[in-house]
Symmetry: C2
Subunit: 370 residues, 2 copies
C-alpha cells in the first residue's frame, strides 16, 4: 500500500517539473494524507525533485518525539524540536538545503502570514502556487480508496438501520444524532464523517440542520443525514421518514417529488456527463413541481478524504464526471414551518457497460412510516 | 447582551482608527462570533468606520435566505445570493461602497488565495494586517463569558462524575469517550469542547491521545480529558485514575509527582505573573523528580471561544497573566510502554485578595482507585 503514496507523490513531482521545476510544499491536511499516508496535526509534506528528497515535516507534540525517522515506504519524517516552529517554514528550509530555487505552495490553504514566514526564511526561494493540483489527483479514486468508501457506507447503513428499529417518538434530535454516532463507532468507523444531522417536524428536510432539543412527535417528518469515516474516507447517507402510521397527503406528495428528483440525479450520473447537467436533472423535477424557492445551491458533491470535495453538482459547476468518481446526490425541499424531505446517497460513477452508477448507501428509499 | 457586541466592535474600530483609519474585515470564526454574537459557517464581519457601517456577511446555504436583515442589537446582516461567492470578497465590496480606502484583514487566518481575491475586487483598497487584535481583546473575559465557562466546567464535572460510578473494566477507550460526550450533551452542553481523550494502560497520560479499542484492565492507569462547550465557551478537565483496589508503588509515586507539579502551576497563577513562570513552576517539579524527557511543550493555555487560545503557558511564552483570564494547568508524564498521569484543571486568574485563582473544574484530584 505504501508504494501507492510514492506513486502519487511522483505525479505531483511531474506536475512541478512541467510547471517550471522546483519542489512542492503541501499543507492542506487531506492532501498531505493522500500523498504521505498520514497527516499528523499541522504536518506538511515537501515533495522534492527526487523521491529521496521528500520529507514529511511534523510539529510537536502530536508529531511524537523530535528527530528524523521513516514512514511506510521509506518516506523521510522529520519531527521538529521547537514546538512553536511552523512545519511549513521548516519545509521551506529543507527545500533550500536541497538547492531548490522554486517552491510551489498551496495558496488556497496557506494563510498570508504563514506564506510570508515561508518567504522570509528562504528569500532566494521563488514561491509559486501549486493551486489545487493535489485535489485534482484526488478526484478519481483507486480500488483501495473505493473499498474504504464501501465499508464506510456499509457502516452508515448499519447504524441507520438499527436506529429505525428503536422507539423514536419522544426522543430529541440531539440524542438521536448522538446514538447514530455511537453506532457508527460500534460498527468500526474511525468516527462520524461529519456532524450528524437529525431534523424532526419543522426542522426536517433542512440541509446541514444542527440537532436541537426538539422531540420526535407523531406525524412528523424525520430526516437524518449521517456518514462514517473509515480509514479517512467519508461517505454520506440521508433519508427522510414519517412518524406514525399514516403519512399526510402533503407528506406523500412532497416525498414523491424529492424521490423523483433524486432518482433523476442518480440516473444522470455517467462518465462524461457535465456536473451541471446532473444538478439540472434533479433540480428540474423540483422546479416543475413548484419548488423553486430556497433550494440548496448544489445537488451533490464529491466525497473522499473530505466529506465535501470536488466535483460540485451545481448550476454553475464546470467539468464532467469521470469513472470512479464518488459523489453524493442529495436534493431536498424544506417548507418553512412545515418541514421537508431530503434524500441523499453516495454513488460511484461507472460506465453503462458496468451497470451504471454503483450505489454505496443501500438503505431503502421507500417512504417508511415508523 | 447584544449591546456587548457593539461595545466590542467599538474597540476594534478604535484600534483601526489608531492604526491609520479604515475598516476591518474579521474572518476568523471565533473572532466573528466574539464581535457579532454569531458566526454562521464562513461568515465574515466588516467593522466599518461607524457602527451603522458594520455588516455581518454570510454565505449560503447555512446563512439562510439571501437578502439583508438585522441581528440582535441591530447589526446589519447580509446573506449572499451567489452560493459560491466568498463573504470576504463581498465584505471588501461593502467597504469600498462605504468609501473606505484602507481595510485591515486577518492575515493569520485569510489564505493567500482569498487575500488576492479581496485585493482584486477592490484594487483601490489598501489592504493592511489586523493581526491578532481581536484575539487580544478576547484574552480577558467579562462576567457573562466567565459564567458560560462556569456552566461548561460544571457540565464536564457532572459527566466525569457519572462515568466514575459506572463499571469501567472491559470497556474500550472509544466507548468511554463516546459515553462521556453523550453525557456532556445530556447535561446541556452544545457539544464536546474538543475530541474527548481516554487512555488506559500504556496509553494513559499521553496528551491528546486518540481513543483506541484497547479495553480497561485491572491495574491500569486510566486518564480522561474532556470538556464541554456551553454557548460557545469551552472548558477542559483531565484526571487520571487507577483501576483496581491497590495502585502499584510506581503509580502512587508518579501520581504524587504530577499532582505536585499541577498544584505548583495552579499556585503560580496570579495577576502579573509571567506565563513562562507558571510553566516553569510546574515543569520544575517534574524535572527534579527525574522526568525531563518527552514532556509536553506547554503546561497550559487559555480557553474561551476556542479550546486552545492565548495565553500559552510555555517556556518561551511572552507576556503576563491578567485578572479574569481563564487558563488550563495540565502537566503530565507519560512513561513509554507503561503509561502515565495527566491532571488538568481550568481556572480563572484572580487577585490574592479575592482568594486567588478560581477553580472551575472541581472534581477531586485525589488518586481514586476504581
Amino acid at each position: 500500500m505504501s508504494e501507492v503514496y510514492a506513486v502519487r507523490r511522483e505525479r505531483v513531482r511531474e506536475r512541478c517539473a512541467a510547471g517550471g521545476g522546483g519542489a512542492a510544499l503541501v499543507s492542506r491536511p487531506a492532501n498531505v494524507r493522500y500523498l504521505a499516508g498520514a497527516a499528523p496535526d499541522g504536518a506538511v509534506l515537501l515533495v522534492g525533485r527526487g523521491e529521496d528528497e521528500d520529507v514529511l515535516v511534523c510539529g510537536r507534540p502530536l508529531g511524537g518525539e523530535p528527530g528524523e525517522g521513516r514512514a511506510d515506504g521509506g518516506l523521510r519524517v522529520q519531527v521538529l524540536t521547537e514546538p512553536s516552529a511552523d512545519p511549513a517554514v521548516a519545509g521551506a528550509d529543507f527545500a533550500t538545503a536541497q538547492g531548490v530555487d522554486a517552491l510551489a505552495v498551496e495558496e488556497h490553504h496557506l494563510t498570508v502570514a504563514r506564506h510570508r514566514a515561508v518567504g522570509s526564511v528562504a528569500p532566494r526561494l521563488r514561491l509559486m502556487d501549486l493551486g489545487t493540483a493535489v485535489e485534482q489527483l484526488r478526484l478519481v479514486k483507486d480500488e483501495e480508496e473505493l473499498s474504504c468508501l464501501r465499508v464506510a457506507a456499509e457502516i452508515a447503513d448499519q447504524a441507520l438501520g438499527e436506529l429505525l428499529e428503536s422507539i423514536l417518538v419522544g426522543r430529541t434530535e440531539r440524542h438521536l444524532a448522538l446514538e447514530l454516532e455511537r453506532r457508527l463507532v460500534d460498527h468500526g468507523a474511525d468516527g462520524p464523517a461529519f456532524a450528524t444531522s437529525v431534523g424532526t417536524g419543522p426542522n426536517s428536510g433542512r440541509g446541514g440542520h444542527r440537532p436541537t432539543d426538539r422531540r420526535v412527535e407523531e406525524g412528523d417528518f424525520l430526516s437524518v443525514c449521517l456518514g462514517a469515516s473509515y480509514r479517512g474516507y467519508r461517505c454520506e447517507i440521508g433519508r427522510t421518514f414519517v412518524i406514525g402510521t399514516s403519512p399526510a397527503d402533503w407528506q406523500i406528495e412532497l416525498y414523491d417529488v424529492v424521490f423523483a428528483a433524486q432518482r433523476a440525479g442518480r440516473e444522470a450520473l455517467a462518465p462524461g456527463a457535465a456536473c451541471r447537467d446532473v444538478d439540472r436533472a434533479a433540480r428540474h423535477v423540483l422546479h416543475s413541481a413548484g419548488h423553486a424557492e430556497g433550494l440548496a445551491p448544489s445537488t451533490g458533491h464529491g466525497v473522499g478524504l473530505e466529506i465535501d470535495e470536488d466535483p460540485q453538482l451545481a448550476p454553475a459547476a464546470m467539468g464532467k464526471l469521470d469513472v470512479c468518481v464518488p459523489v453524493t446526490v442529495e436534493p431536498g425541499v424544506h417548507l418553512p414551518g412545515r418541514g421537508g424531505v431530503r434524500i441523499d446517497d453516495t454513488l460511484v460513477v461507472r460506465p453503462e457497460a458496468d451497470g451504471g452508477p454503483e450505489l454505496l448507501t443501500i438503505t431503502t428509499k421507500e417512504l417508511l412510516a415508523l
